[in-house]
């Protein structure tokens, strides 16, 4: 039946993660550091509120853009915590996860053949969504020697005049890198000079350790050029609820809302209600999770360095991205041999793009006991290869 399919759709490659997922799920006793979601359950106040709302029979559609109360509360939160001012009436759209927001952004902006600049390595969905919108993808390598911060020189090299969109994602998955205001300024200048719209996925913005997060839209002249994509999955441990949002210029939001109206209708109401409660009362639970992540982050970075692997200090999200070239293995080989020999699942850096070669992504969304056990196993594995 293949000939019925759209060539565009069939051009989508299977995710590089799939193979390891299949391997890991057939084995027993595997410790996985391969997960991109919190190990915490959603804070109880939020779950309880959603349960109550179900008891009350709040099971209907909401307005397309999302509950106005949620948009209002979100607008307040963004102003207070991020220094971003978006009107709840026409500059905010509640989506089914940041994932939908990325998809909508691409569909709203891309004319087939338009160029989209995507960092490499990066979260796997950007290229997929851009491709489905008919974009011509230009990868911009992120380099270990710059701690995976995007450099204007690399942007310049990847840029061609058909480029319309730049995808940014800090704090970053898979590297854990962040970028400071000073480091982002030249990127903003580049966007202005080349008339780029920036789709900035800042879903990990609350999960930073030591530095404060700079929302891209707060840089000079960037508010109109930026679609600020974010969500509740990570900071509020809400991955399974499917709720996120996008903020931007009313013209963009209007069109994105229209696509959303026809394809999705609205984000699930119980997720919206829980998210609203999170914004109102979930702060302390969120802070506790952040402190716990920080502790695990230190544990993991230290563990890799003690093995003799170089590992730059990630200051955001919940990933470390150690350099495994000292073992003489390529990323995929490392991940494959590690799971077979020591039953630890990690994700090869190349699953996020060719520039991830030489690295593995390890998530620290696990208990300290699990992390210590995993480190012990990885250490045994690495030792054999270093000597």
């Amino acid at each position: 039946m293949k000939h019925y399919l759209s060539p565009l759709a069939t051009s989508l490659k299977p995710s590089g993660i799939r193979k390891f997922f299949d391997l890991a799920s057939t084995m027993e006793d595997v410790i996985s550091l391969g997960v991109g979601e919190p190990d915490f359950a959603t804070p109880w106040v939020m779950r309880e509120t959603a349960i109550f709302s179900l008891e009350q029979g709040q099971t209907m559609y909401t307005s397309n853009a999302g509950l106005i109360d949620l948009r209002r509360e979100l607008s307040k939160y963004m102003a207070k915590s991020l220094g971003l001012n978006y009107s709840p009436e026409n500059e905010l759209l509640i989506t089914v996860g940041a994932s939908e927001a990325v998809d909508l952004a691409m569909r709203a902006l891309i004319v087939p053949g338009d160029g989209v600049l995507i960092p490499d390595p990066s979260y796997v969905a950007y290229a997929g969504c851009a491709l489905m919108a008919g974009a011509d993808i230009h990868y911009v390598p992120l380099r270990a020697e710059h701690d995976f911060r995007l450099q204007v020189d690399d942007l310049q090299l990847a840029y061609t005049p058909n480029c319309k969109v730049l995808v940014l994602s800090y704090p970053n998955n898979p590297t854990g890198a962040i970028m400071t205001r000073e480091e982002l300024l030249p990127i903003a200048r580049f966007a202005s000079e080349n008339d780029l719209i920036v789709v900035s996925d800042e879903i990990y913005s609350d999960l930073t350790y030591g530095g404060t997060h700079t929302p891209f839209a707060t840089l000079p002249y960037m508010k109109n050029r930026t679609l600020h994509v974010s969500g509740f999955s990570k900071a509020y441990a809400m991955t399974g609820w499917r709720i996120g949002y996008v903020a931007g210029h009313p013209d963009f939001i209007q069109v994105m809302t229209r696509i959303h109206q026809y394809t999705i209708m609205c984000a699930p109401i119980m997720a919206q209600i829980a998210a609203l409660e999170g914004l109102k009362a979930g702060d302390s639970a969120k802070k506790e999770m952040i402190l716990e992540y920080d502790r695990r982050r230190r544990l993991l970075v230290n563990g890799f360095r003690e093995m003799g692997l170089s590992c730059f200090e990630p200051l955001g999200a919940f990933y470390v991205f150690p350099d495994i070239t000292a073992t003489g293995l390529r990323s995929e080989e490392f991940a494959e041999q590690l799971i077979k020999e020591e039953k630890v699942a990690v994700v090869p850096g190349t699953a996020f793009g060719p520039a991830g070669e030489g690295h593995i992504r390890c998530s620290y969304a696990y208990s300290t006991q699990q992390l210590l056990e995993a480190l012990e196993r990885i250490s045994r594995f690495v030792k054999k290869r270093l000597s």
Binding site: F21, G34, V35, A41, Y123, N173, L291, R298, V347
Partner: protein, 165 residues
Amino acid sequence: MLSQEDRRLLYILSQDCRLTPEELSIQTGLTPEYINKKIKQWEKDKVIVKYGLLINYEQLEEDRVTALIDVKVLSQRGQGYDKIAQRFQKFPEIKSVYLMSGDFDLCLVVEGKNMHEIAQFVSDKLSPLDLIATTSTRFILRRYKQDGIEFHGEEEGPKRLMITP
């Protein structure tokens, strides 16, 4: 006031007091020297009173019961609650003594092998004390959660996928 770092240090230590200053240093970013000094100071100031263990005796099938005994005391001239509490806390059977708001004045936590032993203690030792007006004894039948730990939590939480992007 505790600084945020110190509060964090104390918290991590309260979760696992076996961690060495070096291990604590890795997890907090504070230096081992600082941590050592801090812990010594807290021990000296009786902020850290004891390094504890939380045992689930049900698991051992040991005979052991705990009772909460609410006590209404007869206030007597010259004997404030502090004085009265001091008399109770001398009994080794009494593990904790709290001054309470509400209908009763003090709450005693008493441990014994079985209900009989605690009943004996109440009638032989407590009731005769002239400072007690009334008592009300309640036995703990099952511990579901203590000190933040769930004893009968579900064996396994919901499963996350092994690998997600």
